[in-house]
């Protein structure tokens, strides 16, 4: 596993990936759907898969004395690391956003702990759509990515839209008021902090469990592939 991860970072990583982390700066833009910034990490992963297809990474990997299961594990852990780096980069961006800009985000999820949880769900939705499909048919990379982009943007639209609507209608609907005051704001009360931390914990748990299931499904698919 350690050797496969070393291979991922030494041979498979493309220079463009660190550049995609600059999209974390989008969290500093006032009134912006910040989850779109998270999507760019998924886009970076696509560049990795695409470049690796060109460089025959799978051909090289399957000839190493490792099992197909290990190959999948190495790549999925690599994807998680890439996504977690973006997750961590979001934290200072959220703090700077709150210190420098006006409160609230009419375009969607506010820069908050909730945004971190929502970011994990964006990653999970992408991974669920993309990774098992890729390991079922590695040669249809573009098709898998295109479908995943559509699904991810529908998810982003739903999450951002829910938060945007909550803010707009918080004075008319009590549920939206609760969302706006507890979830979709930079937490300034203990209740809001606790609520958002619970949400983040749930999202992290779902992400973790989801990645285990994605790994299992991907291994199952890859075992059936003729290279």
């Amino acid at each position: 596993m350690k050797n496969l991860l070393y291979k991922e970072f030494r041979l498979c990583m493309v220079p463009m990936v660190p550049l995609f982390y600059l999209f974390a700066l989008m969290v500093l833009i006032p009134s912006y759907p910040y989850l779109v910034a998270g999507f760019f990490t998924c886009n970076a992963l696509f560049y990795v898969f695409n470049q690796n297809a060109i460089s025959n990474d799978l051909t090289y990997s399957v000839m190493l004395p490792v099992s197909k299961k290990e190959i999948v594990r190495g790549r999925i852990v690599f994807c998680v690391i890439i996504q977690m780096i973006m997750f961590v980069l979001f934290i200072p961006m959220i703090l700077i956003n709150q210190l420098s800009g006006p409160a609230g985000n009419p375009a969607g999820v506010d820069a908050s702990i909730t945004l971190l949880g929502a970011l994990l769900t964006v990653f999970l939705v992408f991974n669920t759509s993309f990774l098992p499909a890729y390991y079922k048919n590695p040669s249809r990379l573009g098709k898998h990515f295109l479908r995943s982009v559509i699904i991810v943007f529908v998810w982003i639209f739903l999450v951002e839209g829910t938060m945007g609507v909550s803010q707009a209608l918080q004075e008319k609907v009590s549920v939206f008021a609760w969302i706006a005051n507890r979830l979709d704001c930079f937490p300034k009360t203990t209740e809001a902090v606790v609520t958002q931390l619970i949400l983040l914990a749930i999202c992290a748990l779902v992400y973790g469990l989801g990645m285990v299931l994605i790994f299992r499904r991907s291994v199952k698919n890859f075992e059936l592939v003729d290279l």
Binding site: N3, L11, S55, Y60, P65, D226, L227
Partner: protein, 287 residues
């Protein structure tokens, strides 16, 4: 003990079947794996290495069942599909640094030796190497993790004659100590004439012959006869080529007595393959 033993390897596709392919190779020899494009050479190699799922059969590497001990067997194998064309933008040093971590038996001294012997510059990127140098790099990697069996799929295709000859010399050097063997597929028959000890001939997914090169050659003859002899001789002919004055054909050596009135000559590998494949196309066109 055989270094490689393939038993009844079978893979079924909708329009092609690799049909109970069997052959074996002892340490210290080079086996040429020949056949037309689409005959099943690459499919056989991939099925041997579990890159595609076989429908039947077994592969044994140095006494170990590949299916049961895949990791151990992979350590004993160096496999190159064509030239080494992975990670084109990476330097050889980078690729080697990663590769060596996967092999407990990696021999850095041997690796340095092969780099020098093959005149490989580790600072170069894969994309900067010629086709011949890429094959040599793949060989250097394989030999440095102490691979006993090199399986090379069309390693000489795309190389100029000088580079091919150079590479074939390298092959001979690799097996010189009698502990390693090479199985390489090719449709360049002259390569086999130069370096193969054994030959395995596959046609339409079936093994036609797997024997030493001399026996294989000796089991055929080339014949040339007059036009009026053609019909009487036709049952013995393989891939007959009629022309204005008579015919040329291949025959089994065992039938040579029937051709005392014709010109008979030893057969070379290329002629054997051409006439054998032509026989098939005649049958197909007749159908």
């Amino acid at each position: 003990m055989n270094l490689l033993e393939v038993r009844d390897l079978t893979k079924r596709y909708e329009r092609f079947t690799l049909d109970r392919v069997s052959f074996s190779l002892e340490p210290g020899y080079i086996m040429g794996f020949i056949g037309r494009n689409g005959a099943g050479k690459s499919t056989t190699m991939k099925a041997m290495l579990n890159l595609i799922h076989k429908d039947g059969g077994e592969v044994w590497i140095d006494g170990h069942n590949f299916a049961a001990e895949e990791m151990l067997c992979k350590c004993k194998i160096g496999f190159v599909m064509g030239e080494f064309n992975c990670y084109q933008k990476s330097t050889l040093a980078n690729i080697t640094e990663v590769t060596r971590r996967f092999y407990k038996e990696w021999d850095e001294t041997a690796y340095r030796g092969y780099l020098e012997r093959f005149s490989l510059d580790e600072r170069k990127k894969v994309s900067e190497l010629s086709a011949g140098m890429r094959v040599k790099y793949a060989l250097a990697l394989a030999l440095s993790h102490n691979a006993k069996l090199l399986i090379l799929d069309e390693p000489t295709s795309g190389l100029d004659p000088v580079s091919r000859d150079d590479l074939l010399e390298v092959f001979r050097g690799v097996i010189a100590d009698g502990t390693r063997s090479i199985l390489f597929s090719t449709h360049i028959i002259s390569d086999l004439e130069k370096c193969a000890d054994y030959i395995t001939y596959i046609k339409n997914g079936k093994i036609l012959a797997s024997t030493d090169v001399d026996s294989f050659r000796a089991s055929f003859r080339l014949v040339a006869g007059e036009r009026e002899q053609l019909e009487a001789k036709r049952p013995y002919l393989i891939g007959c080529k009629p022309h204005a004055f008579g015919f040329n054909a291949l025959i089994h050596a065992a039938d040579a007595a029937q051709f005392a009135d014709c010109r008979v000559a030893p057969a070379d590998l290329e002629s054997i393959m051409i006439y054998t494949e032509q026989e098939d196309s005649h049958e197909e066109s007749a159908l």
